[in-house]
């Protein structure tokens, strides 16, 4: 049974690949011939998502907040404005909101309705973030979801889930790991994982990263 199931999945995926390749190519050709889209603009957009916009941007925001209390305060007050001052290579749209983890509170971000995600600072969302298991369970079984990521939080930690149901976007400000006193902003940014800014992970262990 399990084997049959795997086999079916494989076939479905394989046929989707070729079918979608053809359908998307047909769409692009028609829309370009009609002058609605410029294939060179598509190339530029794809290149930006593949090379320019990613979680390294969010990691810089977090590392700055860990080392600069005034920036952290500004970030919590208005993340869009605060991030703008960092001179990242991508502008951030309105209503970015940073939510801070503390020893007693852990934040998690989800979009149960579609795939809303702070992509300007984290890049495009991973497949799991857009998947039915994550979207269905994050709001009623967050600890079970965290267990899927190998993460177990103390039983008394409050868990706060933010469902991104409008054009506000959330980024988690994780706690700075102990044992990083005196670290540079750049070195700290190396500890900040994408998942730690979604709330499904923690920053890397500084001992392992040093």
């Amino acid at each position: 049974m399990a084997q049959d199931h795997d086999h079916d999945d494989h076939d479905a995926h394989g046929s989707e690949l070729s079918e979608m390749q053809l359908r998307v190519r047909a769409l692009e050709t028609v829309l370009a011939e009609k002058g609605y889209i410029d294939p060179a603009a598509l190339d530029a957009m794809i290149e930006a998502f593949e090379t320019k916009i990613g979680p390294h941007l969010g990691a810089r925001v977090v590392a700055k907040a860990w080392t600069d209390p005034a920036f952290k305060q500004a970030l919590i007050k208005d993340a869009t404005q605060a991030v703008q001052t960092l001179g990242l290579n991508n502008r951030v749209g309105d209503h970015l909101i940073a939510v801070e983890n503390t020893p007693t509170l852990h934040n998690m971000i989800v979009c149960t309705l579609c795939s809303c995600y702070p992509w300007e600072v984290l890049g495009l969302p991973p497949v799991w973030y857009k998947s039915a298991p994550y979207r269905s369970r994050a709001v009623n079984d967050p600890r079970g979801v965290l267990a899927d990521f190998g993460l177990s939080l103390p039983a008394q930690t409050q868990i706060r889930v933010w469902d991104s149901t409008a054009e506000t976007r959330f980024i988690v400000l994780p706690m700075r790991p102990a044992g990083t006193e005196g670290w540079s902003e750049e070195k700290l940014a190396g500890l900040v994982t994408r998942d730690s800014m979604i709330g499904t992970g923690l920053p890397k262990d500084p001992k392992a990263a040093a």
């Binding site: 998307v24 829309l31 598509l42 899927d148 889930v161 149901t165 054009e167």
Partner: protein, 218 residues
């Protein structure tokens, strides 16, 4: 609409499966598909709310049996045809057979950097906000057959206003071409037990971003 997209709290979808070192796109067509969808939106073919409604209108079995970008491709085909930008026959042939329709804006290489930041949906407030931080509110028990951003699991529930987020384009009207109709937006926080009953994780709170028409005083 009470569609398959509204997944919060559903059971049976299994474990979350993170992929190590996941690429931005798993196949070249995914990147083309994303860029095509965004380019048409940026050129003013439809609003983001109309586009989301386009995904939600895919039949549940179709939605669940295609990948994320697979659904985007089907949505794009449907919307292009529905709005008369191209005919189904042209897409089937893979070539334009008739002249094009005018688009609001031109989306070219020069417009790409602008498209890499989200659009601005904040609007001037037509009236003062009805609620303030700390107010207890109940979400309405509504079931429109059209687009809404009030998820099913949070309807008819009592929560507390945690923040005012300004006045924003109202997706419920924007999605059906009925205008921006700006409304106040609030972060409303619910206790886990209010949403999921006595067996809820006692440490859980969940918030949604709720437009004022979704709320009444509790």
């Amino acid at each position: 609409m009470d569609g398959i997209h509204d997944m919060g709290g559903m059971h049976g979808f299994g474990k979350v499966e993170p992929e190590a070192n996941e690429p931005v796109f798993h196949a070249a067509w995914e990147g083309r598909c994303l860029a095509l969808n965004r380019a048409m939106g940026a050129a003013g073919a439809w609003t983001i709310d109309e586009a989301r409604f386009g995904i939600e209108k895919l039949p549940p079995a179709v939605y669940l049996s295609h990948s994320y970008y697979g659904n985007w491709a089907l949505r794009l085909e449907n919307m292009v045809v529905e709005r008369g930008f191209a005919g189904a026959d042209e897409i089937a042939r893979g070539h334009a057979l008739r002249p094009s329709k005018a688009l609001k804006r031109k989306f070219d290489v020069a417009a790409v950097p602008r498209s890499l930041a989200r659009g601005s949906f904040g609007r001037e407030a037509p009236a003062p906000a009805r609620f303030k931080i700390g107010d207890r509110v109940r979400t309405k028990n509504i079931h429109p057959s059209t687009h809404t951003r009030l998820p099913r699991y949070a309807r008819g529930r009592v929560g507390v206003i945690e923040a005012l987020r300004g006045c924003h384009v109202f997706p419920d009207t924007s999605a059906i071409g009925a205008g921006e109709n700006p409304q106040w937006l609030y972060t409303v926080q619910f206790e886990g037990r209010e949403l999921w009953g006595d067996t809820a994780d006692p440490t859980l709170t969940v918030s949604i971003e709720a437009f004022e028409p979704y709320l009444e005083a509790a």
